[in-house]
Symmetry: C2
Subunit: 405 residues, 2 copies
C-alpha cells in the first residue's frame, strides 16, 4: 500500500507547529511528510517590528527550518509556491510541482493596502526579514543623509506609521528606543525628529482594554509620538502622505519614511488557487478543512474562524496559528489512520501583550491587566513560549529573550 | 600695548598642529589665539576610507577639538568660514566676523571633479564625517534592498571607485573586508558583487614603488577587485558611469554606488577670498606665508610647495600638513616677538604606507619596502603617531589603533 503524502506549505507558526507535531506522532511507515517554504529559515513575524526599527538584529529573529524539523521524517523543500491545483492534488512551485494526498496551507499574510493610492510604491511594510532590514536601513540612510545637505530637509527625520493596531504601536515603541540612538549616531537634534501615527479608526489598539490603551498612548506621547486618530491616509506620495481633514479638505505630511502597518490579508496564493476567500482568508470548517476539500487544511493567517462571542473573525495571530497547527496535526493523524472523528477548533486565549519598547508594555494575561516592566517581562515570556512550543528548550536558549530588567 | 591676535582657520592636521604648538610656546600675555572650525570635532581625514566602508565607526575617527586645545589659552569658535578679507584683516563667517593680526589658513581640501558631467550629482566622495557615514549607509541600503525586489538589480551590488590613488586603493582594501560581511548580513552571494576601480591614468598609485604596486593590485584582485586602468570616466549618471573605450566608443557600467576618489583641490574659500591659486592651492613662500601678505600663512591642502627633486608639487598629505603646522607655529612666535628670520620649510619624508584592508598594506619607511602584516602594523603606527603629535599619549590611548595582528 502506498504511503499517503502530507505536504505542508509555509514554515511560519502554523506550518512549523503542524510539522513538529506530525513528526512526533507519525511513524516513518505511516506517511511521507514534506514541508515547503520560500526561505530556508523561519522568522518570528511577531518580532519583525524590532528588526525593522533596528533594535534587534534580524538574525536573532530567524532560525533555520532544519534546526527544528526531524529531517529523517520530514523532507524540506526550499521553494516558492505559485498556486495550488486541488483538482490534480498538486502544488505548483516556481520550479517544479509537488503532488500531495493531504495538504496544509499555512502561507501567512501579506500587507493589505485597501487600494489606497501610492502605498504599494511609497510605503514600507513590516512583512518579512527582507522588508524589515530594508526598512531599518532606509531609516538609517535618511538620518545619515540629513547633515550632508546644505538645505536641511526635516522630512528626512519624519517617520509616519499608518495604523495604530498591534504592529503599528509595537513598531512605534521600538522607534522611541531607536531614534535617540540614531540622533547620537548622526549628530542630529532629537527635537527635529517627528514620529507620527496616523489611524483612520477612532481608536488606538481596538479591542484592547481602554485603560491599558490610554497608558500606552500616554507613554508613547511622552517619548515623542504624535497620534492622529480618526485620520485617514488618502494617498502616499514620493514626499510623504496626504490625509483627510474635515469633510473635503486634505493635508500633506512630508515624510521620507512611511510605514504601512494598518492591515494584512491572507496570502494571494489562496485566490490564485481558486479557493473562495475574503481578502485571502478562507472560512474553514471547525476541523480546519476547506469546505468541499476533505484533504486540504488551511490554518493561520489564511484561515478565517468566527469568534462566536463577538460574532467577528478572530484576528490573525501567532497564538491562534500555533493552536491550529496542533489540531491540524492530530486531525491529519486521525485521517491517515482512518479512525475517529476530527477534532474541532476552539481558541484557548492565553492573553495578549503589546510591547511599547524594550522595557515597557501593556497586556492581559491570566485574567489580569499589566503595564510597564511586568507586562514587558510577560511579553518576553510569550516570545520565548513560541520558541519552546516549536523548537523545545534548546531553541529557547539559542534565540530566547533574556534581557529582562 | 594691544596683544596681537592669531586666528587659525580649520582644525585639521595643519591647524591643530599649529594651535597645539602655539599654546605651548606662547604666553597668555603675548598673544590671543583663536581657532575657528566648522565642527566641534577634528576628524582623521586619512581614516575616512574606513568609516566610509563601514569597517571603523566614525566616532573612532573623530575627537573633540577641546580635547586637545588648552581652552585657557585658545578660544575655540565653532563656525563656518565664508571668506577672508585680507584688506581689512578679518574673516567672514556664516554668523559674524572675526578680526585678526595674523592668520593661518588650514582649511583642507575638497573633491575635484574636473568638470566631469554628473559626478557632483551622482557620485559620493570620501570627504568628511557626514559624507563617510552617508556613503556607508548608502552601500548598506543597496545590499538591504537587493533581496526585496522581484527582479533583482545586480547593479545594486556594484561599487565603482573612480581613482586608483591613495584614497581609492585604501577604500577598496576596506571594501574587500566589508563586502563579505554585508553578503552575510543580507543573504547575498558574494559572486554577485562587483568592485570596480576605474583610473584614467595608465597606472595604479603613481609615485609608489612598482614592485609594491603590483603586490597591491594582485592582492586586491585576488579579493575581487577589477581594475580598469587607463580608462576615463566620461560621465556619471543615475544608473552608473560611462567610460571611454578606444577612440570614440563609450561603455556604460551600471552601478548603484559610484565613489569619486580621483582628485582633491584646496578649499574654494581660497579663491572666494581673492588669493591667487591653482585649484584652491596657493604657492606659498618657503616661510609658508602668502606672497604679498606678511601676516597670512597657508598650510596643508590649500598650500602648494614644489618638491625640487622631481619639480612637481608635493601631494597634499597629513604628514606635510603637520610638519607645516610645526613650522608655522614657530614662525608666528618669531613674528610676534619680532625677532629673527622666519624658518624655511623642508619636508622630512618619514615614509608612506598605503593600507589594503585590516591586515594588509604596502609601504616604504626607514628606506625599506614593506608588504603584508609588517606594513599593516606600520600603517597603524603612522595613524597613532598623528594622534600622539597632536594630542599626546592620552589621545593615542583613547583613539589609537591597537588591533594589531
Amino acid at each position: 500500500m502506498r504511503k499517503p503524502k502530507i505536504v505542508v506549505l509555509g514554515a511560519g507558526y502554523g506550518g512549523l507547529m503542524t510539522v513538529t507535531r506530525l513528526q512526533k506522532q507519525v511513524g516513518v511507515n505511516e506517511a511521507d511528510i514534506v514541508l515547503i517554504n520560500k526561505n530556508d529559515y523561519h522568522y518570528e513575524t511577531t518580532w519583525l517590528h524590532e528588526a525593522s526599527a533596528g533594535t534587534l538584529h534580524h538574525d536573532r529573529v530567524r532560525y533555520n527550518v532544519t534546526d527544528v524539523i526531524d529531517t529523517n521524517k520530514v523532507e524540506f523543500i526550499k521553494g516558492t509556491v505559485l498556486s495550488i491545483n486541488s483538482e490534480e492534488k498538486k502544488v505548483v512551485l516556481e520550479k517544479g510541482e509537488v503532488e500531495y494526498d493531504y495538504l496544509v496551507v499555512s502561507l501567512g499574510a501579506e500587507p493589505e493596502t485597501f487600494g489606497i493610492k501610492g502605498l504599494k510604491e511609497h510605503a514600507f511594510a513590516i512583512a518579512n526579514i527582507n522588508a524589515a532590514r530594508q526598512l531599518r536601513e532606509h531609516i538609517e540612510y535618511q538620518f545619515a543623509t540629513y547633515n550632508m545637505e546644505e538645505e536641511k530637509k526635516d522630512e528626512r527625520l519624519t517617520i509616519v506609521v499608518g495604523g495604530a493596531g498591534f504592529t503599528g504601536i509595537e513598531f512605534l515603541g521600538e522607534l522611541t528606543n531607536r531614534v535617540p540612538e540614531l540622533c547620537r549616531e548622526y549628530d542630529i537634534d532629537f527635537g527635529k525628529v517627528k514620529l507620527i501615527c496616523v489611524e483612520a479608526a477612532p481608536m488606538v489598539l481596538p479591542g484592547f482594554d481602554p485603560e491599558l490603551v490610554s497608558y500606552a498612548t500616554a507613554q508613547l506621547e511622552r517619548k515623542g509620538v504624535t497620534f492622529m486618530i480618526g485620520t485617514a491616509i488618502k494617498e502616499a506620495t514620493e514626499n510623504g502622505i496626504v490625509v483627510g481633514k474635515g469633510e473635503d479638505e486634505v493635508e500633506e505630511i512630508k515624510a521620507a519614511t512611511v510605514v504601512w502597518a494598518a492591515g494584512v490579508r491572507g496570502s494571494s496564493i489562496i485566490e490564485n488557487s481558486g479557493f473562495e476567500a475574503m481578502r485571502g482568508r478562507v472560512k474553514v470548517q471547525p476541523d480546519l478543512r476547506v469546505p468541499g476539500h476533505d484533504n486540504v487544511f488551511i490554518i493561520g493567517d489564511c484561515s478565517l474562524i468566527i469568534d462566536e462571542k463577538v460574532n467577528r473573525p478572530y484576528p490573525p495571530t501567532a497564538q491562534i496559528a500555533m493552536q491550529q497547527g496542533e489540531l491540524c496535526a492530530s486531525n491529519l493523524v486521525a485521517l491517515i489512520r482512518d479512525k475517529g472523528e476530527l477534532g474541532h477548533f476552539t481558541f484557548d486565549n492565553k492573553g495578549t501583550v503589546c510591547s511599547l519598547g524594550h522595557d515597557d508594555a501593556i497586556g492581559v494575561a491570566f485574567g489580569k491587566k499589566m503595564t510597564g516592566g511586568t507586562a514587558s517581562f510577560m511579553k518576553k515570556m510569550v516570545d520565548n513560549r513560541a520558541l519552546y512550543m516549536i523548537g523545545g528548550p534548546s531553541l529557547v536558549l539559542k534565540k530566547g529573550k533574556f534581557n529582562v530588567l
